[in-house]
Amino acid sequence: MILLRLISWQYARKHKVRMLLTTAGIILGVAVFVGMHTANQSVLFAFQKTIDRIAGSTQLQITAGEPGFDEEVLEKVQNAEVVRVAVPILESTVTTNLKGQGNLLILGVDMTGDRGLREYDLEGGGDDAVEDPLVFLAQPDSLIITKPFAEKNGLRTGSKLPMGTMQGEKEFTVRGIMKSGGLTSAFGGNLAVMDIYAAQKIFGRGRKFDRIDVGLKEDVTLDAGKAAIEKIVGPGFQVEPPSSRGQQFEATASIYSLVSSITSIFALFIGMFIIYNTFAIAVTQRRSEIGILRALGATRKQIRVLFLTESAITGLFGSLLGLLFGILIARALAGYLSVLLGELYGLTQRAEEISLDPRLIAFAVTIGVITSVIAGVLPARQAAAVDPVRALQKGKQQSLSEGENRVRRWAALVCVVLCAICIYFSLYRPAFYAGFMLAVLAALLLSPALSLWISRLIRPILKWLRPVEGSLAADSLIQAPRRTSGTVAALMLSLALVISLAGIARASYDSLKSWLDVALNPDLFVTTSESITSRSFVFPAAIGDEL
């Protein structure tokens, strides 16, 4: 520990910028990893919370895809022995035509039964509307909005709210305002409740429901209730707890998560080479210091541990900085992800706060430190092997690099052969990925030899260009092929990452384009809403004939 303070700390203080650049790779890797995963988790958590809020005390939800299902199903479910309460739901995303407010989720509910599952805590005189559901039902333009939405738009009970419907833009009357909490915080307050039968008419859904929310009797387990209801409704229906909607969302988010994981792994890998390179240079620079320590009685183990501890501290420092940057990235990304997923689901659910998972933090820091320590192993070994006699002789240089060796070239050849086999079977996806990794490994194994050959090749050119500086520069590369190859490998991996990501993007674009060309050949599409995945309205049957 004292050696760290006396030797390593002094060196780090003298080379602050270099140390910071050394840790940059780790910072980048950890930041991308933490940022992307935290953003995903935060948005997912916010979305799940929204689902929970909308679901109230619903235990099971019955759905049948986008077209919905007939009203008769409700009666069958309500009559089931396991069911305590079953209420129909119709969900529709509509444009409010209020400046800057975007879409509003309309929840069509049956006020006569829905309060068995959801709380509608209304403020002021608005309570009447729900105290007597008949008043609410008798006025099909009735709407209950949330307090945040009302405050943002200066709406009060009795205010008119214009919205796009099947019958064109229509004005609705605010009959109640829900107080804070529960439903009101779903989708940032962009949620309104109206009578389901009025919603059916306004949104052209005929006599169909989107969903039935079910509360089970006290002694019925979730599995038993699910099985009993599935038996009653038959095939074509999904009976799932509300949390499963979050899983669907999670599956979408997992694609971004996968891409970010790959990117961060590459960044860490590149960081590893940068650290290796810096430590290899440091060992060369500190040869005299190592020689003095060895002469004064430091064992090889003490020297090795010193360098490994330095790399571990570098990794820890990089990981902690990466964590900080990761949180900043997560904040920025959570907003983008919310918008992106909002486009898919019709509404934007902002992650109000970044939820940091302690396991993710521990994992990221551990990976950062391990990466750095792995990068430090070879330089630490080189440092421990420094011959004190030669290190202390002024003017004598000890070649730390052994150059390319036969074992490495044979290993590269084996990797190339295995890679070719994997590519041959590339239709099987794991084989393709294995082939990719083997190709990268082969390139890494060959990089010292390649660096050496290229350095020798360019020596005459450099010498011709600048007789003194050129020769010295080329000789410096030739004398330290391992160190040179560290830089080459880092650059190679960076380029490989850029090219492979660009390749993936291009291939996805091309395959999507060719699929669109083959599968979708109409000149025009006429749809009922902006979102392809979430339809607000359904065309009346007559519209086909009209078109």
Partner: protein
């Protein structure tokens, strides 16, 4: 204290170079011996072998009765740490450490308690008359002062053997005489076995015994 029996050292390379050939030597406890010879005579190689920094190609070396041949690197390091102090021509102080820290370094490597280390380092710097330079960096010191710090560091554990490789070689003559006087003074006070490598005849002759080397052979062993 130091025994060499038929010690040879060859350096492998494009051409094999024989630095030392069948050296037999005995240096008794408390002796102060100078080792003199022209460049390439093998004196520094001999010093490195005695100091356990290098291994002989043939022959046996015993330090305080302990046979060095066959010892592992760690065991050799331990011998070096506990029994030998080095003084180098170019001081070899760590430039980022203060005088106290430089002197403390060997004691830290031995795992001494921090308080004891500080007391010992100050005591040693007092011994070499540098008590007022405790927190100075090497670059703030003159050549002679730097060599004094290096001597204090070599004495940190009061080793029984002190090996000095051209201790005055990098100093002007006045400072060189001063340092040599200090080494003699420490020898008298501490009674350590001291081996001084030099190419300076006056330095060599100041020691009670002088061994002359040429082309890897002992050509003269003079006692005064």
């Amino acid at each position: 204290m130091i025994d060499l029996a038929k010690v040879s050292k060859q350096f492998e390379g494009k051409r094999k170079v024989t630095a030392l050939e069948t050296i037999d030597l005995h240096i008794a406890k408390g002796e102060m011996v100078s080792l003199i010879g022209p460049s390439g005579s093998g004196k520094s190689t001999l010093l490195n072998l005695i100091g356990g920094l290098d291994k002989p190609s043939a022959g046996e070396i015993r330090i305080d009765g302990e046979l060095l041949s066959g010892l592992s690197d760690d065991a050799l390091t331990k011998v070096r740490r506990d029994k030998i102090g080095f003084i180098f021509q170019f001081f070899n102080l760590l430039p980022t450490l203060t005088c106290v820290e430089n002197v403390s370094l060997p004691l830290h490597l031995r795992g001494w308690p921090r308080k004891k280390i500080e007391d010992r380092a100050k005591e040693l710097l007092g011994l070499v008359k540098l008590e007022k330079r405790l927190d100075h960096l090497p670059e703030e010191l003159s050549g002679g002062e730097r060599q004094r710090v290096a001597i204090a560091r070599a004495l940190s554990v009061f080793p029984p053997i002190l090996l000095a490789d051209e201790p005055t070689g990098n100093l002007d003559s006045t400072t060189g005489i001063e340092i040599l006087k200090l080494i003699h003074d420490l020898h008298d006070r501490l009674g350590a076995t001291i081996l001084v490598v030099t190419h300076d005849r006056s330095v060599a002759e100041s020691c009670p015994r002088t061994i002359s080397l040429k082309d890897g052979h002992v050509i003269q062993d003079v006692r005064r």
